[in-house]
């Protein structure tokens, strides 16, 4: 058609300083500088590596949580799911079951648990928040029942996953975490399943009209989430060398927090894994700073919570700012 100027065909990028990740990076850098100037030990290689080591489990959980939230669902049972899997694995390790089978059982059980949440959510057309709240109790209860509340220690066994340092310094667990981020990022950006995840979260009715199966997409996401929980559970168990029914509880909130701080909308359809990575990193830096600054341990949780709320506020504000 004549008359109208032809469209600008290039990927128009938002200026970098108004993006979510920029806000997060600034927050992280400032926190690091403040802590480092009070306690120079913060900037030692050892401490840096420690931070990475500490956030690997949370990172893997948050990756799964990102997928779940992107589809518009939520799963608050991941912490107790992880705890149950850790207890079962520890008991198997204690009875000298071959490692291969331990891995299989851990992954299988975590997937089963996560799928139960997913299937119930879809079958009952119920909010996943409530469904997973129910399963949260079921998983913890089961863990208590099978361990009879006894601490399951496995000192000296099953250490490879959590304690290996590549080249003598780089934590294997963090490398695994990185690989997971990359895989999830690839999944979201370069596969049709990724598109389905965004589409279902953005507008499930439109997805249905476009021929996308909502149930299939969500179930696949719960499946992946299960795998990641299983993996995280083994790494955690390997790191601390013991498990009890309360292992992992509270992790779900940290994971959700990291995802939301990273800019993923709780309503689904918007967000990415880079944001989650930075959200997780922020959590790691905050925890570490609190230790470095020798904040009274009884008080640390309070300060941690306050930081999270501030981060959330800034994050939401920047998103709002962006909209203009």
């Amino acid at each position: 058609m004549e008359g109208r100027e032809k469209v600008v065909i290039e990927k128009s990028k938002r200026p970098f300083y108004s993006t979510q990740w920029f806000f997060l990076l600034v927050a992280e850098a400032s926190l690091a500088i403040i802590t480092g100037s009070i306690n120079p030990r913060f900037f030692t290689l050892n401490n840096m590596v420690n931070i990475l080591d500490q956030i690997s489990v949370l990172g893997i959980l948050a990756s799964g949580m990102t997928l779940i939230i992107l589809t518009g669902e939520i799963d608050i049972s991941i912490g107790t799911n992880l705890g149950l899997v850790a207890c079962v694995s520890a008991m198997l390790i204690k009875s000298e079951v071959p490692t291969f089978w331990i891995v299989m059982v851990a992954l299988g059980l975590a997937v089963l648990n996560s799928m139960l949440v997913g299937i119930s959510t879809i079958a009952f057309k119920a909010p996943s928040f409530i469904v997973s709240l129910g399963f949260l109790s079921v998983f913890r209860g089961t863990a208590f029942a099978i361990t009879k509340g006894v601490f399951q220690t496995i000192y000296g066994k099953f250490e490879t996953l959590g304690l290996t340092r590549l080249w003598g310094w780089f934590p294997l667990s963090f490398l695994i975490g990185l690989v997971i981020y990359i895989i999830v990022d690839f999944l979201l950006r370069f596969t049709r399943l990724g598109r389905h995840i965004y589409a279902v979260g953005s507008n499930s009715l439109a997805a249905f009209y476009s021929g996308i199966s909502i149930a299939k997409t969500k179930l696949l996401v719960f499946f992946i989430n299960g795998l990641l929980i299983g993996l995280a559970s083994m790494i955690l168990l390997s790191k601390i060398g013991a498990a009890q029914p309360t292992t992992g509880s509270g992790m779900e909130l940290k994971a959700i927090g990291a995802v939301v701080i990273g800019g993923t909308a709780l309503t689904g359809g918007r967000g990415n894994i880079l944001g989650t990575f930075l959200g997780v990193l922020l959590m790691g830096i905050i925890s570490n700073s609190l230790n470095m600054l020798r904040i009274n341990p009884y008080f640390q949780e309070v300060v941690f919570g306050i930081f999270i709320i501030i981060a959330l506020g800034v994050s939401v504000f920047s998103a709002y700012f962006k909209k203009g």
């Binding site: 008359g3 469209v7 065909i9 128009s12 399943l193 965004y198 997805a207 476009s210 021929g211």
Partner: protein, 496 residues
Amino acid sequence: MSDYLVKVSGIVKKYGGHEVLKKVSFDLKPGEVHCIVGENGAGKSTLIKIISGAVHPDSGEIFIMGRKVRNLNPRLAIELGISTVYQDTEVVDTLSVAENIFLGSEVPSPIPIVVNRRYQNEQAKAILKSLGISIDPDIPVGELPLVYKQVVQIAKALFRQSKIIIFDEPTASLGLEETKALMEIIRSLKKRGMGIIYISHYLKEIFEIGDRVTVLKDGEYMGTYKVSEVDTEFLVRKMVGREVHLFYKRERVPIGEKLFEVKGLSKKELVENVSFEVRKGEIFGIGGLAGSGRTELVSLIFGILKPDAGEIYIEGRRYVPKTPIHAIRNGICMVPEDRKRMAMFLGRDIVENSVVIINELLKVAFLRKKEEMNMTRRLINELDIVTSGFSQLIEHLSGGNQQKVVMGRWLLDENAKVFIFDEPTKGVDVGARERIYQVMIELAKQGKAIIMVSSDMPELLSMSDRIGVMRKGKMVEILDNKDLSEEKLLRSFIGV
């Protein structure tokens, strides 16, 4: 006191580097209907969003009832007496009519915190009655036909004692009767001395109720005219910059053998015993009043609703609708009527919104981004979509361009046989409407069967080869589109 309810001047609004309003002026007097016309993306909605405080201009002055207002926001605008009936109607479906009207200003009852429902319902009833409408204020809005969502918003404006009501394409989703009713209501609002800002792509409506009309073109102010002193051609030339015929003279396409057939399709209480056939290259229009079962009929074909009885054949082979993906794989395409609810992926860019169907069909596991860009570029050029780039989010397109994207995604499916368009030009400007008609003719030339549901009489008459008339869930008549007039058609719709 000033003579103007609203007066804005020198309004500039930029999104990124893109200037969507370039020094636009506008004013509104009491008791007048001031229309705004322009192509898709001309900036109409943006202008009224500025007047209603939803968007801040980059520069320019806003006077409301003679008072200069600096930081207008939606709340302040409402307090100053400006109410908006938005393009995408915003009411809460699960709340009752009365609750919607009083939303945000609930009337307390003698018991603290509890809302005085009785009083609200009575008031709502009275307001509705003053508009000449009798509906039970206690039913949830979601259960009412679309027009009532607008009625509810108008009632809300009256309850707030607004002086100014803004309508952004109120009739885009209305049937004939409903449009008529709305025109009546607007006239009565005018008589009360209220000022009305009215946006529509149906120029006929503007000549029916407008007093003055302002034309925007690509964000540029083209002028304000007395409606009585201009005609359609003039307006269209101002808007589009070239000649466009309102009554589209379509090219005839040779019609081939039977391609699609429906026999005795029924669904309890919605559709009853509908039979028709569509041949290759034929455009089969489906008309009828709102609520006559047109959308339900096509939903049955597309596998959204499950039929109770009846058979469907594509190229002589039996096709049993199951799900949309099954329909798509059988060569059926459907552009649904409510783009926001049924088609748009908000928060996602236009590429993702364009390639969603073709990706499902090709079952690609890994995305081919380059290919996706190329396909999107093709649609942008073919349909003349106004966008700032591939990564523009679909909700940031103007209404008509959103429609083009959700329609375009089906055009990438080259093996499709049957195209169903449910209100294809809803919210599309006169120039772009021609473009969409050309696309439909192109499909017909390729030998596809086209089913077009429309509430727009001229559209039905100019585009259809035959018109099936729906009344109360039945297809009462199938008319050959020869010597048909709007009147004749309307009589058949109503059944007199």
